[in-house]
């Protein structure tokens, strides 16, 4: 049975203003895939009340990686947890990005939408071209490995422009077979248009407020183009861009 397991915080550091990189050591052997997420209990006292969903940024030899922005009390407390402290984690949850199977993937990350695509690039380095878009160089996370092409809106590092503008140019090369993206909704809406223009399979990873993470609370529903709602936790978090309202 899948259950909450205790993990030990082995690293927790600020890697850009407001952005924390956290590593957890898990006693259990798990086999997550890029795009899947974890529910993390910030405090055993249940204050904050709910666990927080975080996309898994990597996993190898019992070490899990996460990257998150401090947006409120829960992520604030999580960013202050010191090494050696334990957190309870339920994982892996949700559906991953599909394996490349010989295809070339253009992976577009916006800001803290980086984790699932960083992980994907790590797992499939030869098939994946990863662009990370941020406002300026100071927002690029200072991680040990930086397998991305930086794109800054102000041109202070890497390519200048929005990540979707750069992607539009790159897609003219016919080099890619699919687009995978994770980032803020306006960016994903633009990615959806890009994918339609290029006629390429386009997948987006969504985030949502969640209570349970396992499909029973119906709190994380996202509207579909069909007029129905889908649960981000169990139907996603990875969706076909054409399937969801963006």
């Amino acid at each position: 049975m899948k259950t909450y397991h205790e993990c030990i915080v082995t690293s927790n550091q600020l890697v850009a203003p407001g952005i924390t990189f956290m590593e957890l050591y898990t006693l259990e052997s798990i086999a997550p895939k890029p795009g899947q997420f974890a529910m993390i209990r910030v405090a055993k006292t249940r204050d904050p009340f709910l666990a927080r969903p975080l996309s898994i940024m990597g996993y190898s030899s019992h070490t899990l990686k996460f990257l998150f922005r401090v947006t409120g009390r829960g992520t604030g407390l999580m960013s202050e947890i010191t090494n050696g402290y334990s957190l309870e984690v339920l994982m892996p949850l949700g559906n991953p990005f599909p394996e490349p199977q010989g295809r070339k993937i253009l992976a577009l990350a916006g800001g803290v939408g980086l984790p699932p695509l960083y992980y994907y690039k790590e797992e499939h380095p030869d098939e994946t071209t990863l662009l990370l878009g941020v406002k300026s160089a100071s927002a690029l996370p200072a991680l040990p490995a930086r397998p991305w092409i930086p794109v800054t809106e102000d041109g202070s590092a890497g390519l200048k422009g929005r990540v979707t503008d750069v992607a539009r140019q790159m897609l003219q090369s016919d080099e890619f077979d699919a687009i995978y993206a994770c980032g803020p909704l306006p960016m994903l809406a633009e990615v959806k248009r890009l994918g339609a223009e290029a006629g390429l399979p386009t997948l987006v990873s969504l985030e949502a407020r969640m209570a349970c993470g396992v499909g029973v609370c119906h709190g994380c529903a996202h509207p579909l183009t069909s007029g129905e709602y889908a649960k981000v936790c169990t139907h996603g978090p990875v969706f076909e861009a054409g399937e969801v309202v963006l």
């Binding site: 049975m1 899948k2 259950t3 909450y4 209990r41 249940r46 204050d47 904050p48 009340f49 709910l50 666990a51 339920l90 949502a208 407020r209 969640m210 209570a211 349970c212 396992v214 499909g215 029973v216 609370c217 119906h218 709190g219 994380c220 529903a221 996202h222 509207p223 007029g227 129905e228 709602y229 169990t234």
Partner: protein, 306 residues
Amino acid sequence: MSADLTVDLGFVTLSNPVILASGTAGHADELAPYMDLSIPGAIITKGISLRPRTGNPAPRIWETSSGLINSIGLENPGIDVFLRSLPSLVSKASVVGVNIFGETVSEYADLARRLNEVDGISFIEVNVSCPNVEKGGEHFGHNPDLVREITHLCRQAAPSKGIVVKVPPIIGGMDVCEAALDSGADAITVSNTIPAADVDLSSGRMVPGTAGRGGLSGPAVFPITVNAVRQVRQAFPGAKILASGGAAGSKDVLKLIMAGADAVQIGTVTFLDPAAGERIVGELPELVERLGIDSMSAARGSAIPA
């Protein structure tokens, strides 16, 4: 000798007093990857209506201190789709209850009639009190005459099933409980979530949902439930009462029984731990022994002042 955890509700005997509450355990066997679904005394499926309902836009949930305000909007696939997936739960659970709601009085009866024919369902929980849909059950639950009519129709439409009426929060009188119990309910669930709201400072709007309000659940409401159960028990000494509201552990389950409940629904705690139902049942024998409780029926109402 270990204590007797069984609970006789009249229409069914539960192996223990822990019931997974409607709206927190899915429409079928969604929790099967996380727990043994045969362990809770019963499982009540998420509210079902005649036709599918898409539910409310985000934000549907809002975290509070020790609780959760929800405005899910009674999202469900409708009775036809629901019945197709129900066997996956019936094959795994000990006892299954099905929560229903209608938009009209006759829809309640239609749903009860459909469910009466379905094997594997022990009881129907009639939601007259869901507070988070404009056109949903709110007005039924605030009107004892409508509650009487709905209960009576469901009773007639589903003679082979237990009828449990889930009432709105007990605030003031007992007229809705009385209406349900007088018109054929085998038991009542006390109670549904408590109307609540918050303000999202980032948007400047009230939350959750487009209406800016929802139903509060979780440990925040537990003491309110304890008091409500006690009130209902004192008013109706012979009634079968399922407590619902904030129980998050085995101690809470016993407290609610000692306050007058026959059985206890656990709900929001399942969001915090999908295996909560299994864990809480597992904790009960030792706790019951430590407290010197011989049986659930002996403990029932034992804490109420004379």
